[in-house]
Symmetry: C2
């Protein structure tokens, strides 16, 4: 039995929905937006700042981000947010029976043996279809939005973990939700969490 499941996911892959359903089926707590509330409380940073930067720093202006707004010890607000996020994720894992979405939780909890690490991805066509259905048309092309959002997730992950986001080796199981479908992904994750 794995008491903790981390779900990392490409934007547009439906990973969050899969994670929520898996948590319900297992009777586990589900941390996604809930995590943002906890981080806000703990850090004093606004929910808006955390939503914008928690997974997306250093963001588009990588070099700008790296050198501005640091304190005397060289820590940026992003570093502070990372530290608070990490501590909260470690605490939640300690309590167990939970599914945590994103926020480098796979890396933060990589040494725990009671943790199943999952990555959900899909091809561009399926992701486009999904975000257009869910969020409707917007100014930017869906493909551009997807690429930008997933690129900043990858940069944030690289910056704080020094690993490449989306490498199969970072996770115990990686699934293409476009081919497999959301329901089958949930079944596989729930089955593995129970079996292992």
């Amino acid at each position: 039995m794995k008491n903790i499941i981390t779900i990392s996911r490409e934007f547009g892959s439906g990973g969050r929905t899969i994670a929520k359903e898996a948590a319900q089926r297992l009777g586990y707590a589900f941390y996604d937006k809930e995590l943002i509330g906890k981080i806000a409380e703990e850090s004093g940073l606004s929910r808006e700042y955390i939503e914008a930067h928690g997974e997306h720093a250093p963001g588009r202006t990588y070099f700008g981000y790296a050198f501005v707004g640091r304190d005397a010890a060289g820590n940026s607000v992003g570093d502070y947010l990372w530290k608070v996020q990490r501590e909260i994720i470690e605490d939640l894992a300690e309590k167990g029976n939970c599914v945590i979405v994103g926020r480098c939780a796979d890396y933060i909890l990589r040494k725990r043996t009671d943790c199943l690490q999952v990555f959900i991805h899909a091809d561009m066509e399926k992701k486009k279809e999904r975000i257009v259905n869910l969020y409707g048309e917007t100014g930017a092309s869906p493909e551009k939005r997807l690429k930008e959002k997933n690129k900043t997730r990858a940069m944030n992950y690289k910056y704080y973990t020094d690993r490449t986001w989306g490498m199969a080796g970072n996770y115990h199981v990686s699934l293409d939700s476009g081919l497999l479908g959301e329901e089958r992904c949930v079944d596989l994750i729930v089955g593995l969490a129970k079996d292992l």
Copy 2:
């Protein structure tokens, strides 16, 4: 039902054994060493050359490889081997009901909708354990052998496909055989091949 399964695998992950077992369970043809025979027949190159270079070119001397031994059109022996390999893999896929191990088959067959693409990996400790048990101790440290072999696979893949070897997005499902165990990997692959 997926009629073709490509299995890419880290050296030491047991991916070949998993592929063979999955082929038996599905009643599919299994192409690994068998593929080398076919390539030798078709290309006129020796089995030894193909074993050494088919997945390991451009090898350690990347730049040396890129510029020496080319014909007037700029094609190296490695390029010729790649072309023959690709054609044979396309022919096998056309016949269907097969499991193909390695040799960039995932990339070569990426546009087919009757193909399930799998990647098998494991952490360093499990891979070390496996190769020491299977092949015994050798001069080089097991970790060094593993890193070198997997590095050349990654370089070969990058050279011919321009993709990063081991990125989850290249495959429909990626499994950590160290955590899941070989038998469970076989079950999952066979189940997905039948269901999808």
